[in-house]
């Protein structure tokens, strides 16, 4: 194989893997079995490490990440250039936008050390039970952004367009044909729109817009997973060699390098930064570059620079000073995050999906990938933002008014990669309590207007009905005697699925609301 083909092979592989990633996300529209979806975030060693630190236990579900870590020792930081869906998105975005906006070509080597600060800060925060990792891990971030936001936007855009075309005669024959095809293979079965979708999108857009400062700015400067791979990249076997006899120091490779990993007039390589994209192979007109395996502990390393250039090795080492500053930053962050702000709501309306661990354990273990929200068949799971304190950002909550917890369904716990939601077998779903419904009698039609309604009772899916009614004779507001069926909740068997709150025909806030149990406990 000719060496200059490798750049093309890499680009195609990256595109194929990105497409596969999208296909997996689209395939998760199936609401009956999505267990395959849970493997997606498990390829990230960063998530595995921070979950292990936060939960004080080895996160064995993240074993697939080890495979990539071993591969990274052999092939270097290839993950970023070949596999990472966020890397692919950033590359595509760079091509489309950033390359057109002429950015300064001055290399900023110093920014490369920022990512170690991010990594160490995230690790320290994990130890203190603040899971920042899930919010900034590239895999988790891509699943969350594509799955809940981008896909939902695409979905609503298509629905808007086709609904408009539906009323246009003649044209709607074609459009409805396309629409039915899309509904069969692409769009979600129910309407998808997420509460708090905009901050999720803005965070994603912000990362893409960082490319205005430099190509792959996020990967170079901020990505914590990139930091791990750049550490392994330093000892990787696959290395770049430059034949100084052939090299004319034309700087073609150095200018083309999207990671700014080349220095010393094209002859030197910052091994931890090279993502093995092989663009330099393509750019070199003199065939001076070779990628070869070298095994540092077996025989002599042949990588000896013979260039007489005096450029020093670029200083991206993680100095003691930076280590101290990142520790200091994390300590400040811990003190800030652990102190819940005054405006943070109490947890009485925070309903976690079924199978969730207790609140603090859940926050520790949740990787914020948003897969549970993507697969929820009623669109009832939505990302939390800062409402419940800064450490709960992007965790899922059930908002029953928007979508209730479906009876024979356990998809959210089936797709959870980290065990923050423990798998609930369908047989046990009936008895898995996530909250309790309370009737607000001033809003309730039978209680306040003395006429029958009973939609909540009809909808209640628990066996033997946890909403019951008593038929009573009451004097209505005109003083006439009427017989009314008054609803009551049986708190002992209510599981808090929220079907009643969702279907309550009262406008605005429902007259029956799911909360965590109203009585506080001693502990």
């Amino acid at each position: 194989m000719k060496s200059r083909h490798w750049a093309k092979i890499r680009a195609i592989t990256q595109l194929v893997i990105w497409c596969a990633f999208i296909v997996v996300i689209v395939a998760s529209r199936d609401t009956t079995d999505n267990t395959f979806f849970s493997y997606l975030p498990r390829i990230s060693p960063f998530l595995g490490l921070s979950i292990s630190l936060a939960t004080r236990a080895v996160a064995d579900s993240f074993l697939p990440a080890l495979v990539f870590l071993v591969l990274a020792v052999i092939l270097g930081r290839f993950f970023c250039g070949w596999i990472c869906p966020l890397g692919a998105t950033i590359d595509g975005n760079d091509r489309a936008i950033a390359d057109r906006v002429k950015i300064s070509s001055k290399k900023k080597i110093s920014i490369k050390s920022w990512k170690y600060i991010v990594l160490i800060t995230a690790m320290i925060l994990s130890i203190f039970g603040i899971q920042l990792a899930g919010s900034i891990d590239p895999i988790s971030l891509s699943i969350r952004s594509y799955g809940t936001v981008i896909f939902a936007y695409l979905d609503s855009l298509l629905k808007l367009v086709f609904n408009a075309l539906y009323y246009v005669p003649l044209l709607n024959i074609i459009s409805e044909f396309i629409y039915s095809f899309l509904k069969d293979y692409l769009l979600d079965y129910n309407k998808t729109q997420y509460y708090n979708h905009l901050p999720v999108f803005l965070f994603f857009a912000f990362i893409l817009l960082l490319s205005l400062f430099a190509r792959r700015f996020w990967c170079k400067a901020l990505c914590p997973l990139g930091a791990i791979y750049s550490l392994t990249g330093k000892i990787a076997f696959l290395k770049r060699y430059v034949d100084t006899g052939k090299c004319t120091n034309c700087l073609a490779c150095e200018k083309n390098c999207r990671m700014d990993a080349i220095f010393n007039k094209g002859t030197g390589t910052i091994e931890g930064e090279c993502i093995k994209c092989f663009d330099c192979l393509k750019a070199c007109k003199f065939d001076a570059i070779k990628f070869r395996f070298s095994f540092p502990y077996i025989g002599k390393d042949k990588n000896i620079l013979t260039s007489d250039s005096t450029d020093p090795y670029p200083d991206i080492q993680f100095t003691r000073k930076k280590l101290f500053s990142s520790v200091a930053a994390s300590v400040i962050a811990v003190s800030m995050f652990k102190r819940k702000p005054a405006f943070a709501k109490d947890h009485s309306r925070l309903i976690r999906p079924p199978g969730a661990l207790s609140e603090q354990d859940f926050i520790n273990a949740c990787v914020r990938c948003g897969q549970c929200m993507k697969v929820c068949p009623t669109n009832g799971l939505h990302p939390v933002l800062f409402e419940y304190g800064p450490d709960a950002v992007f965790t899922p909550q059930l908002i029953p008014r928007l979508g209730f917890c479906e009876k024979n369904c356990n998809q959210c716990s089936a797709v959870c990669p980290s065990g923050a939601l423990q798998l609930v077998p369908l047989a046990k779903k009936e008895t898995t309590v996530i909250g309790t419904a309370y009737i607000i009698r001033d809003l309730c039609i039978p209680w306040s207007e003395y006429t029958d309604c009973l939609v909540c009772e009809e909808m209640c899916p628990t066996n033997k009905k946890s909403i019951i009614f008593k038929e009573e004779s009451l004097l209505n507001k005109e003083g006439r005697k009427v017989r009314v069926k008054l609803p009551y909740v049986r708190e002992d068997i209510c599981i808090g699925c929220g079907a009643c709150e969702n279907k309550c025909p009262v406008q605005g806030d429902a007259a029956i609301q799911v909360r965590t149990p109203k009585k506080t406990t001693i502990l």
Binding site: T31, T32, L160, N163, A164, Y166, Y167, V168, Y189, N190, P377, T378, E406, K407, N408, C409, I445, T451, D452, C453, L454, V455, E457, E458, M459, C460, P461, T462, N463, K464, K465, F469, K485, K503, C504, P505
Partner: protein, 323 residues
Amino acid sequence: MKHKEHLSRKSFLIKAAVVAGGIFAPSFLNKFFNNPLKKYRNPVLLNAAQPADGRLVVITGPDIKKQTIEKMAMKALDQFGGMKSLIRKGMNVVIKPNIAWNSPPENAANTNPDLVEIVARFCKEAGGRVTIFDRTCSSARLSYKRSGIEDAAKRAGVNIEFIDERKFINVKVPNALNSEILSIYKPILDADFVINMPIAKHHSSSRLTISMKNLLGVIGGNRGSLHWNLHENIVDFTKAIKCDLIICDCLRILTNHGPNSGTPEDVKETRTLIIGRNPVTVDAYASTFFVKSPSEIKYLALAYREKMGEINPGKMNILKLTV
């Protein structure tokens, strides 16, 4: 660095107009095409339907195996001249079973999938173009799957589709008791032949849900608020939607904790099919499995008062058969 090109007033205005147009065009187009007022301007007035004849065929079988159900359905339909005489080639047939709940068949919350499959196949063999749908209460996708009716329809080779919210139209109901304007799913009004296939179930607020209450599954709008004055509304649905045939699934009936949270303990195997043309008569006969007298059910009493059908089982024209 090169100095930035000067932006003239004209080009600024043009650019601003393009951007503003781009931002407002979708919402404008949406308003133009989806004008919510347009729907309410002229509700379609329905013809007052004459009450259909109250003849009933009640057939009981030894068990509820698929072959037995097929024999039962075949024999009962023969009393109406067979499906081939009811449905002509190319007719647009709508089957409206009860698929409202995400619940497996053994809990008797949805119509028996075997029965749906058999009837759909009869219709298809008679040359009809069959469509099956229901506006579900649980998630549509899960209900279609879990009830087994999606698979049943696929086995029968007929079309099953989710409710399309755009196809509801507003109609004026003649002599309505409570709801003068209802939003009804257009395909069922346009159909040449409508088969209503309810399952007889206990229901908390309407006491029973059979064929008349089953029509709630093709009514649009806020489903919940239709439960205020539910009995009057049920009579209005029956006035608004004409069903050509009612095949009531009493193979297994849900006697308690209806309509959705019954367990196999609440299910009674009655192994019966009730076939007729008049929904009031069918419901009145089916209600005898649950209550002493059909007049205990308020909506049946109301329908009787509106002269929509006979509800006294003693005065009905019933043909009882067994397989």
